[in-house]
Symmetry: D2
Subunit: 298 residues, 4 copies
């Protein structure tokens, strides 16, 4: 029984393994670890309904890039992070066609602002290509949409995105959102890409209508950045890390469950990661070097 809260398939798999009998085997799920430009990448494939049920996530591919070493600011850390994320993202995307990038979440709440913030680093080209098709022939059409949050718009994100998809007819949607992780060490240190779509606000505890191929009619690639962890999960994992394992988790959870926390320096981390993700999306979509993206955005 998984009670620890996580939006990462990687962690859902860990939790299954921890909770399972030694003899049992997780079927319907495949995992693989690789490296790209020095950053570890873990791929979890949920192959069937059995796997989906075990991990509590839809069937599909989940790739988690571990950016922990990003913060050490070694040579080319930014460029390598962009190419790593961008390279992985490119493999999940159709090779051509119009793209709608949706930034989910609340701009006024820092740990939830990663979606809208990413949009400010995006090369938006749809209108340029439409107005000057010859001059912009080398670009892929990209539109951007900040869906806002229900409390300030009165409209579900999924409803607003569906409206825009109908009107603008993109070939694929990339949806960027904040997530919740299980381990503090993954918060602001990992990015999960998946081809399964996303449920807006899952990182912040309000489950909403999904954005996926079923609801939107086009593939939805999700880009999620964990920015929060719940208090009880944090406590349980600090205990585990410290080798203290005989804790009555139910008891613990019954007290700490409503405290969702985020790192103290979340402003700086969201600012940095928004730029990495935005550039990675540009890098995946356009045939441009990072310095060219830089020049176009400044």
């Amino acid at each position: 029984m998984i009670t620890k809260r996580t939006d990462l398939a990687l962690e859902a798999r860990e939790l299954w393994q921890e909770s399972a009998e030694k003899t049992s085997r997780l079927s319907g799920v495949k995992a693989e670890k690789t490296k790209r430009e020095g950053y570890p990448v873990t791929t979890v494939k949920i192959l069937d309904q059995e796997g989906a049920k075990a991990l509590g996530k839809p069937v599909g591919n989940y790739r988690t890039v571990d950016l922990t070493s990003y913060w050490q600011r070694k040579p080319e850390f930014f460029e390598r992070a962009v190419r790593t994320l961008g390279g992985e993202l490119r493999e999940l995307l159709p090779g051509e066609g119009t793209v709608l990038v949706v930034g989910l979440g609340n701009r006024a709440m820092t740990p939830d602002a990663i979606g809208p913030e990413v949009l400010s680093h995006l090369l938006v080209t749809r209108h340029l290509i439409s107005a000057m098709p010859k001059q912009f022939a080398g670009f892929r059409p990209v539109a951007a949409f900040g869906a806002g949050v229900l409390g300030t718009t009165g409209v579900e994100s999924a409803e607003a995105v569906r409206a825009l998809v109908r009107e603008t007819k993109p070939d694929v949607v990339i949806a960027v959102d904040a997530l919740a992780a299980r381990r503090m060490g993954r918060v602001c240190n990992t990015v999960q890409l998946s081809d399964t779509g996303i449920i807006p606000g899952s990182g912040v505890g309000n489950h909403r209508e999904a954005l996926d191929r079923r609801t939107l009619g086009v593939p939805v690639i999700a880009v999620g950045v964990p920015t929060v962890v719940d208090g009880a999960t944090l406590a349980a994992d600090l205990l585990e890390e410290a080798g203290i394992t005989d804790i009555d988790e139910k008891k613990l959870r019954s007290h700490g469950k409503n405290v969702t926390v985020t790192p103290r320096d979340i402003d700086a981390q969201v600012r940095d990661l928004s730029k990495v993700v935005g550039y990675a999306v540009n890098w995946a979509l356009q045939d441009l070097e990072i310095e060219e993206i830089n020049a176009l955005l400044s």
Copy 2:
């Protein structure tokens, strides 16, 4: 021939009168001056195509509230401004039904930010009424949408609003935008309400597809706040005010036309006016006193 740039029907009428022969008569246009709570209100009615052609604006009603005395901060200046604008607005709106309030313009450019800023003072109720119809029975359903600008979304405001109108089916749209005035004295001192819809970005010189009953299928009430004036118009009007009238305007215009200016203290003025307009919209739509609106928004 009107060459001075203005989005205010009030000023278009003035310009017609200044340019016209003394003997001619402006037909198809009616104007009337009244006062509400101490603030002057000018109503210009464009009755037919003749009037529309003369003033360069569509047929319909235009009400301009003069808030110049607002800045003197006399007793109840805020409450009176809200009730004046709100009262005028209420007369243009259908008495019931769902409302979509659209904030046009660029949040990152202060003189163009009035639309998006107004949304942050709005009582958004659509989702609450939908979730708890009994508890929120006393409220009118209101949704809000910040359309963004073409350069950052790749999607025309009119396109995005149309998409949302189709999806959410409001009975009326209220569209808030920045305008250009002819006289500096009207900039940040007046608000124009009209039942004719609006062309996004007209205040900043980029003509786009209109938001009106024809394009959206529902009535569109425009709320416009002049925040800019063009340099040549400013010069010509300063000369007129000084009684210097024998100027070769064409010559003047050929030099100053590309300089659009705004008051130095535009940040404070946009902040103040956004609150007045937002509260006025709430006051027009909901059966609430200003202090109740205040309590709900804090």
Copy 3:
């Protein structure tokens, strides 16, 4: 041995009691609980060096106002909070003389921004009284200073404040800063007032030169709002709350010590509490009702 990290005298006393033998007695410390306008107030008096050593805080008076019920938004919650904090603060302040209010901390880091944010709700009067002494005779002279942080100024906060104190010669300094608490339940729910001065940045782990009567030559009243908690402390306290007490804390601490966390909705909480604290300072210093403060600040 107190290893749990806290800036609250209230919590330092709790920790002493938890760690102490049942038979021993905390000498040199007095504590008292009262209520004001419905909000609980705990006063801890550290009477001598023995008490100071036991709690790890300087001799002096510490008053902690518990604003937990503020967030329930019952009638007059804001006014009551302002009068409670303001009333307690007034008792710590000299009855007359010029006041310098210093906002410590980093405006760009939300959990550390409470000091600078409070300044934007302050009635600053020193220059008005100096220019028009008759007209402003009814006001107490107040100046404000946002000291910035070492990383962005190159100057220690204490150094900059000392310079300003020498130049402007206030009779008392009020220093507002973010603190670290031990229990998540106190974060953004309590405000500590003390007459002992403050060490800038103690809430965020960088100990600096103190701001107190010794270093500045005038009394320093500290106003501290806990906005962060360290991860290991959070874990230990969640365990305690759950009745799990047999934990090897040293082991735990060796893992979680570098994670400092803050609530997910810290933006909204800092915004709200800054206004409460700012208004409380105005209320304590000036002979004004809250609605008069409101009118002067808008």
Copy 4:
């Protein structure tokens, strides 16, 4: 009689020439035009009291860099602008010693925010050199101070800067502020450097105590960016540009004098110019390439 309002020595000289009889000669003033990295540089030297009286500015050197072509975004426009400004600035600065960079003006008012905004692009090193003198031996000590404005601090900028100068004992002060220009074409297109100090707020019409060698005891290098123009001056100059010269300026001025205007896109221009000026100060002070500055600031 110069009635047109300008803070630029360059323009004060133009105005003298326009107003003077053809036969008279401006004595005590020398001017010279050069180019650096493609950007025109005008040097005006006010040599004596006669020159000072004629131009209404203190004796000293004024260098105005014309960045008009910056906005064409030709190759290396940013780097060339930084090296041009930085190179001119270096010639006005002492070759060694500690530097205090002061950002004057109001962060909350866009046309007045250039001073505080520049500080966010500054390499602040004083504390690093003090803590790790060996490691940072290659850097020049730089501290930064945002003086705030009288209305929000209650303390004159000059008073606060003097306090900080006494405490931190810099060898030179660089003071950055917004200015008023006479011609709209110079607004956000020029930067004036001078070795005469500065009167805070002169750009926005509130004359205050000067920051100069006399009041601070150390040389003060002023960096001024014109961001506003007054309405009557704008009108008069548009007329001149259009060849309309027989205007009763007094009459004109009596009407338009209180309208101070700024370009509509002032947000973007202040953002851009703050970065240019900040990098130029870094380039003038430190032995670093622009890309090294970039790496240190990101």
